[in-house]
C-alpha cells in the first residue's frame, strides 16, 4: 500500500507532501524573468542584499520570495517595507543600510548570473528609512 501510494502521484499533476510527483526541476523559467525583492540602501544609494531572515523572518529563501511577491501582488509593499526596516534596525548586521526598498527587477538571467549584468528594468514599489 505504501509503495502504491508513493507511485500514485504519477497519475496526477498536483504536488503534495509527502507523496509528490517532484515537479521542482521541470518548471520552465524564461530567459528574461522578473524578481521581487527587498533591498537595503546605503548612504550612496548602493544596494545591499538582505538575508531571507531579514526579509521574511524565515531562513528559507523560497519563503522570502513568496513574502515579497505576495506584498507586491496585494499592494502591501509599504507595510512589508516597514517590517523589513524594523528587522534591519534590530539586527547587528547591515549597519551600513540606511533605508529599505521593495523592488521588482527584470533580468536576462544567464548574463545576470554569469557576468553580474545589471537589471534590464527596475521598479520601486516602496521605500522606508531605518530608525535606529
Amino acid at each position: 500500500m505504501a509503495v502504491a501510494a508513493t507511485l500514485a502521484p504519477i497519475a496526477r499533476s498536483k504536488d503534495g507532501f509527502p507523496l509528490s510527483n517532484y515537479p521542482m526541476f521541470i518548471v520552465t523559467r524564461p530567459d528574461v524573468t522578473t524578481f521581487d525583492s527587498a533591498v537595503g540602501l546605503d548612504r550612496t544609494g548602493r544596494q545591499v542584499r538582505l538575508s531571507p531572515q531579514i526579509v521574511a523572518g524565515s531562513i528559507e529563501v523560497i519563503q522570502a520570495v513568496a513574502t515579497v511577491e505576495a506584498a507586491v501582488a496585494n499592494e502591501t509593499t509599504q507595510q512589508l517595507c516597514a517590517r523589513v526596516a524594523t528587522r534591519v534596525a534590530e539586527s547587528e548586521a547591515f549597519v551600513e543600510v540606511l533605508s529599505v526598498a521593495i523592488v521588482t527587477e527584470t533580468y536576462d538571467i544567464i548574463p545576470a548570473l554569469a557576468d553580474e549584468a545589471a537589471p534590464i528594468d527596475s521598479v520601486e514599489h516602496a521605500r522606508c528609512d531605518i530608525e535606529r
Partner: protein, 297 residues
Amino acid sequence: MIGVITTTHRAVDRWLFASLPSRQMLVLHRAVVGSALFWTVVRTPFWLDQAALSATRAAPVGVLSWLPSDQIMLSSPVVLGLALASGLGLVLSLLRPRWPLALTFSAIGFLVLTTHGNSWGQVLHTENLLSLHLLVLAASPRPPVGDHSRGSTTDGWPARVLALLTVCTYLVAGVAKVRYGGSDWISGHTLQNLVAHDNLRKQLLGDWSSPLAPLLVEHRWIFGPGAVAAVAIELAAPLALVGRRTALLWSATAWCFHLAVLGVMAVLFLYPLVGVAFLPLALSFEPTHSSDATAAA
C-alpha cells in the same frame, strides 16, 4: 504469460519476505531514526518561523489539506511542543528500539511538523522520503536488540519496503521529467535556465548560492547531457532491485547526482547525501547467515 507472472510474483514474494540479520535491521532502524532526530533539531527554527506566518499565506498539503487554510495554523508553542515531544520520542526509540509507542508517536509528530512546514505555498521536497521511511518503520515490528540480536534473524520486509519507497520516489521524479519536461528538458534548456534562475534568485535574496553556477551557466552543452543523465538515473532506479551489486551501483550514481545538484544549484538533499536514503537498498540483499547455516547442517 500466466506462468511468467506467477514465477515473478513468487520471486518478489520470496525477496520481500525473506528474513534479514537482526543486526542489519537494527542498523537501519537507528540510521533512519537518527536522521529524523537530526532533521527535527535543525529544522525546528524554520518550523517556528512558519508558525509565525499570516494565515493568508497558508496552502495546506498532505494530511492537512482537508482543513481550511485558516485552521491549519499551529501556534509557535504548539510547534515547539510537538518538536520537543517528537524529538524525545526519537531519542527513546534510539535508546530503546523495542518500545513501540515512542517511534509511532514520533513518526506522526514528524509528519505533522514537516507537513505544516510545507503548507505555506511551497513544497520543499527535501524531507518527503525521510517522512515515508519513518512512517513505515513505525508500522514495522521492532528489531531485536542486545543478546537477542546476535546471530538471529528478523522480518526483512521493512527494509525491503523502505528500499521500494526509495526506488519509487526516484522513478516518479524521472517520469515527471519525461512527461512534463519534454524536449526542452532533454535539450538542457530547461535545466540551464533553472540553474540560472535559482542561483540568481538566491543572490538577490541574500542567500547562499552556488559558486560554480556562474562559471557553467553560459555553456548549454553541459546541461543537455546533465539533463539526460538526471532522467536516466531516476528511470533506472528499479534496476537497484535486481541485486546487491546493481543496488550499490545505482545508489552511488544517485548519490553523485545529489552531489551535483548541491554543487550547481546549492540545493541540499541531506537524507540521500548522508547515504541513509540508500541504506535499505544495500541491506535488502544481505544473506541470512543463520538460515544458511541451518540449510548447510
